[in-house]
């Protein structure tokens, strides 16, 4: 039988306090893990911190084990079924073939970068020679004109979607606020919204192309025409969710708040910034999230049809190539598009979480 001393008690208490603190921290971090789609980290941390392992194990199983198993099952099914489907481009590639093409595309990227480096080297040699011959006025610095690599295409697509999305936001939020504040404006915009919302990007594209060609005539501008075509098509298709949700968020603002505003005799601008926007934020962000998702989906279609640079063009070019690796490359693109779409969604979710948390505090 041991006697418990004072110091033991104190140490015990301190340890308890530390643990409690640790768990609060873990719980706090959990909200962020959930936003990032890493919710399985929490039970792992808890178990590491010495929480009841049994309950944590079931949590880990649910959050990590089950999804992993599902992915493995999907891959197995794919690997077994793919070779049984014979297309005119050979059998449907399995996971192995697709993974191989990932390596190929990377090697391709490296090769292209080497070619670019060689180009710049040649340019430097040429310019040095001209310098030596005393013809400095004929020295030129030009950018390399090789094919865009897979990474370049991804980057182009991401830039385009964000540009289109930004224009959409800049247009949709003010109009949404207007519609939410004024029933008259709402009645005016409603039919337009209802008619244009279901229109497919592929229908907008020819119109956008024609208009951009007619209006944007400077050839030394900031943007290339193809970039604008894709971006504006994205804008036209992705502004509706933001617009509708903003209007809804603004319209459903607490009446008491509006009354408070009236009592304080707030100006319109102050009313919007201090009352309307903060309370409508969660819905606005829901709209933005939907918009970005729609925009990403639309962009790939627009790039495919208009042959504008980006992932859509990559898919279409590969389809046209019709080589024995084309299908596998297209599948790589499909996964890339899916993963980037997921990441964009998470990004918006994180921003939304950041804003609404600060809002609820």
């Amino acid at each position: 039988m041991t006697t418990v001393t004072e110091t033991d008690f104190a140490a015990e208490a301190a340890r308890e306090a530390r643990r409690a603190k640790l768990f609060t921290r873990i719980n706090k971090a959990d909200t962020w893990f959930r936003v990032l789609g890493l919710s399985w980290v929490t039970p792992v941390l808890r178990a590491a911190a010495g929480d009841n392992p049994k309950s944590q194990i079931t949590e880990i199983w649910r959050l990590l084990g089950v999804p992993l198993l599902a992915i493995i099952a999907f891959l197995t099914l794919w690997a077994t079924l793919a070779p049984t489907v014979q297309t005119s481009l050979g059998a449907i590639p399995g996971p192995g073939a697709v993974w191989e093409q990932v390596g190929e595309l990377h090697a391709d990227h490296v090769r292209e970068r080497e070619k670019a480096a060689a180009f710049y080297e040649r340019q430097d040699v040429r310019n040095a020679k001209l310098e030596a011959e005393g013809q400095a006025d004929r020295i030129k610095f030009r950018t390399y004109t090789g094919k865009p690599t897979y990474y370049d295409q991804i980057w182009t697509s991401i830039q385009t979607v964000f540009f289109g999305f930004l224009i959409a936001t800049a247009v949709a939020v003010p109009i949404g606020i207007l519609c939410g504040l004024s029933p008259t404006a709402n009645a005016a915009f409603n039919p337009i919204i209802q008619i244009f919302k279901p229109v497919s990007p592929l229908a907008w594209l020819p119109i956008v192309t024609m208009v951009v060609s007619a209006v944007y005539v400077t050839n030394d501008g900031w943007f290339s025409k193809s970039f604008l075509n894709s971006a504006i098509t994205v804008t036209l298709c992705s502004l509706w969710p933001t617009l509708i949700n903003t209007a809804l968020g603004v319209a459903s603002i607490d009446k008491d708040l509006i009354n408070v505003g009236k009592v304080l005799k707030l100006g319109t601008w102050t009313k919007i910034t201090k009352l309307v926007l903060p309370s409508a934020l969660p819905l606005i962000f829901t709209g933005l999230r939907l918009s970005l998702g729609v925009g990403w989906m639309v962009l790939i279609a627009a790039e495919m049809l208009a042959q504008n640079p980006g992932l859509g063009k990559f898919v279409w070019d590969e389809f046209q190539n019709g080589s024995s690796q084309s299908l596998a490359k297209i599948m790589v693109a499909v996964f890339t598009i899916g993963i980037i779409g997921f990441l964009l969604d998470r990004l918006m979710y994180a921003v939304q979480a950041a804003f609404t948390f600060s809002n609820n505090r």
Binding site: S88, K140, R142, T145, N219, Q307, N321, G322, S323
Partner: protein
């Protein structure tokens, strides 16, 4: 800075002096974008880029694959593209205003031959019994008369007989029509009111982009097609169809693609145009050098995904001078793709006139035209003056030899009767040529409603 560089190079040429070095072409524009369609005959562009011929001229070129011929032509017209690999009929049709109207010129012909006509396995099986055989192999060239009973059977069953080609003013459209008409099958007329090209037709032709030809035939939408390589060989590889004839057998050494730019471009950037032409001539020379010695290398370049992107062995088939008809029936056609021999790159007026006669023959040109009109249009679009200037520069730089170019020609090739139906074509007599066809518009005939009048 020497006085030489102050003078534009063209002034020199006018003075009969030659620029001592390629570097002395004062380029008005050095960053260019060219469009192309994924076909093996875009090879001169890929080679000029990969072998650094563009760079040697001080040009920085971006090559962009296009979705289809219409997108490509519109790109050149509205300036998104500085130039493009075009169907020979495109600059001519644009200039005379059939389809989109715009003045397009060509200083450089890209190649000869390179197309084939393919039918689906089912049609081939039905055709085969009407084709004479020797040693168990079909006798080539196979005329369309072997297809005639098959088409008649389909029509008796009430089924339309559909075939695909790549564009209304494409070489492929005229070659397919020529072959069908030579076999007594009516391929249909165009009229100003009805541009489907299916008026009074036994065989209904429609447009399909080249890369989608095999897939469209597989889906049963069309029973056959006329297209450039690699899409005929692709059908053999995939086991979905059989090429029955190459265009080499329809018209020996026929002109196929051209490099097109707008007239404004040629006017505004004369030196740039010269530099482009020089680079392309060098590429064409490289492609045909030492009896096609470089073709395997060219095949490797073309098989890269940014150019044609099809499998190497598919492209190699025709590029290295063989052509596979039925699976296993490989025959030597050394001139299936010609890029430089026989003055292939010189823009002959007679080539332009032939295309114009075919446009008139099938009603795309709805009214009768005088012989002079044909010559005028040809001279508007084909620019041998630019070509010869570029060739002269290359000879002076020691990159080409005097004998490679037809310095003295008046732009009309010798009359030839090396067609599948044996009719003689003389570019100097377009109307007489039109009159010699049993099927097709001639004299002052017109298509009114659904019939030919006059």
């Amino acid at each position: 800075m020497s006085i030489r560089t102050l003078l534009p190079a063209t002034a020199f040429l006018a003075l009969g002096l030659s620029a001592a070095h390629a570097q002395f072409l004062e380029l008005e524009k050095d960053e260019l974008t060219f469009g192309f369609i994924k076909l093996t005959d875009m090879a001169p562009l890929a080679v000029a880029y990969e072998n650094g011929y563009f760079e040697d001229e001080g040009l920085f070129v971006t090559l962009e694959a296009q979705a289809n011929w219409k997108v490509l032509l519109d790109g050149v017209i509205d300036g998104q593209l500085d130039g493009a690999h075009m169907l020979a009929g495109q600059p001519l049709a644009a200039t005379i205003g059939f389809g989109t109207e715009a003045h397009i010129v060509t200083p450089f012909s890209m190649d000869l031959n390179g197309n084939g006509i393919t039918v689906s396995n089912e049609i081939w099986a039905a055709m085969k019994e009407h084709v004479p055989h020797e040693d168990g192999k079909p006798v080539h060239p196979i005329p369309a008369s072997a297809l005639k009973p098959v088409v008649e059977q389909y029509r008796a069953d009430g089924k339309p007989f559909n075939m695909g080609m790549v564009f209304p003013v494409s070489t492929h459209n005229y070659e397919l029509r020529y072959w069908l008409a030579a076999g007594d099958l009516k391929p249909g007329y165009y009229s100003p009111e009805n541009v489907s090209g299916q008026i009074d037709a036994d065989v209904l032709l429609s447009v399909t982009p080249p890369p989608q030809m095999p897939a469209t035939m597989e889906a049963g939408t069309i029973y056959g097609y006329c297209v450039g390589e690699p899409w005929n060989q692709q059908a053999v590889f995939k086991g979905i169809g059989v090429p029955v004839i190459t265009d080499y057998e329809i018209w020996k050494n026929n002109p196929e693609k051209v490099f097109g730019i707008t007239a404004e471009f040629a006017e505004e950037y004369p030196n740039t145009t010269l530099a482009i032409t020089k680079a392309l001539i060098r590429a064409a020379m490289w492609l045909d050098e030492n009896d096609n010695a470089n073709r395997p290398e060219a095949v490797e370049i073309l098989s890269r995904s940014e150019y044609v992107g099809a499998d190497e062995e598919v492209i190699a088939n025709s590029m290295t001078g063989t052509f596979e008809y039925e699976k296993g029936d490989k025959r030597e056609i050394p001139d299936f793709n010609v890029f430089f021999r026989y003055y292939a790159t010189y823009p002959y007026y007679s080539d332009a006139v032939w295309y114009l006669t075919q446009m008139r023959r099938w009603g795309q040109i709805s009214e009768a035209k005088t012989d002079e009109w044909y010559f005028e249009q040809a001279e508007k679009v084909y620019r041998p003056d630019i070509y010869l200037e570029a060739a002269r520069l290359l000879v002076d730089e020691g990159l080409a030899s005097e004998a490679d170019f037809p310095w003295e020609t008046d732009g009309y090739r010798e009359a030839t009767s090396e067609f599948i139906d044996g009719l003689e074509y003389d570019g100097r007599q377009p109307n007489a040529y039109l009159d010699s066809f049993p099927i097709g518009l001639k004299g002052s005939q017109k298509v009114v409603g659904n019939a030919v009048e006059g």
